[in-house]
């Protein structure tokens, strides 16, 4: 009995630690990975974000994906969530993805000109 109780305790402790770890991500970066996003190059964006996050040593950032966000013409889309703030970057390429990590995630500066369509 003792060992089972110990096991339960241990499991509970590990679960709580995992919850803490999940909450530890104060910033979430989401890449749209619907058919439209993939065709527009979302996969390259994930790779570029990962590489730059590694370069910058970011451990408190969660990188995740979502499906089509309904803005297919602006793909690839990268959304940065920090607390209640939500910023969506449109038409992201590899270079922009790296800049988003450096400027937005590391320095905390939103790159406003990449959040709205360019005027032609």
């Amino acid at each position: 009995m003792k060992s089972l109780a110990e096991l339960d305790k241990l499991r509970e402790k590990l679960r709580q630690e995992m919850n803490v770890r999940e909450k530890d991500h104060d910033v979430t970066v989401t890449v749209s990975m619907g058919t439209c996003g993939i065709a527009a190059g979302a996969r390259e964006i994930v790779k570029a974000l990962l590489e730059e996050m590694k370069e910058q040593g970011l451990s408190r950032v969660a990188l995740t994906q979502t499906s089509c966000a309904g803005l297919c013409q602006h793909e690839p889309l990268v959304e940065v969530n920090r607390g209640n703030e939500k910023i969506t970057y449109i038409n992201v390429d590899r270079d922009k993805a790296r800049e988003i990590v450096k400027k937005h995630l590391v320095a905390g500066q939103v790159i406003k000109e990449w959040t709205t369509p360019e005027r032609s």
Binding site: E22, G34, T35, A39, L50, A62, L63, T64
Partner: protein
């Protein structure tokens, strides 16, 4: 879509959206039999028999927030362009299998492309999935499984950027090695 691995990512992402926790991706290249085939197998919520004929219709989708579903129709187009074959099956218990077969040497067959990028993109994200990747090139095999890697990593999450960048290099190297011809195969004797 520029390459087949983008189609694989698209189909496999459907699996994740269907709640799959197990995902098996296979690529089989047989240059003698002139076949390049890929398969995506999942344990997601599956597809009904009624929906299977509809899935190649670009205006059919089960998703509520949109009116088109282009993933499978685009894949079908890529298959038909070079006289290949696409098969979508509901698995007996739960899940779906998608298999696409192409003539390896057909000029209109899209290249396989960045399969590593596809695998990395699937592993990234917080939805835990046990991903198995099997790649057979003629008589050579490469097998990769996230569960084994996680055991190896212990407490370190697979999603850590450093781990994923390492994994990218590992997969790239192993998949490239499949196609590397040995001196014997080139007919050199030394």
């Amino acid at each position: 879509m520029e390459d087949l691995s983008q189609h694989i990512l698209d189909i496999a992402f459907n699996s994740l959206e269907a709640g799959a926790t197990d995902l098996t991706i296979t690529v089989r290249e047989d240059t003698v039999a002139n076949i390049l085939a890929f398969g995506v197998l999942d344990n997601g919520r599956g597809i009904t028999q009624n929906d299977i004929p509809k899935i190649t219709d670009p205006f059919f989708t089960t998703k509520k927030h949109k009116r088109v579903g282009l993933g499978v129709p685009l894949l079908q187009e890529a298959v038909q362009r070079c006289g290949g074959n696409l098969e979508i099956k509901a698995l007996p218990r739960k899940g779906t299998s998608v298999t696409a077969v192409f003539p390896h040497d057909h000029l209109d067959r899209a290249p396989l492309g960045d399969i590593t990028g596809t695998l990395i993109a699937l592993i990234t994200g917080r939805q835990p999935v046990n991903l198995t990747y099997r790649h057979k090139y003629n008589n050579r095999n490469f097998l990769f499984n996230t569960r084994k890697l996680c055991i190896h990593l212990g407490a370190i999450p697979l999603q850590t950027p450093e781990v994923l960048v390492w994994l990218q290099n590992y997969l790239d190297e192993n998949i490239a090695n499949l196609r590397r011809e040995t001196n014997e195969e080139l007919g050199r004797t030394g």
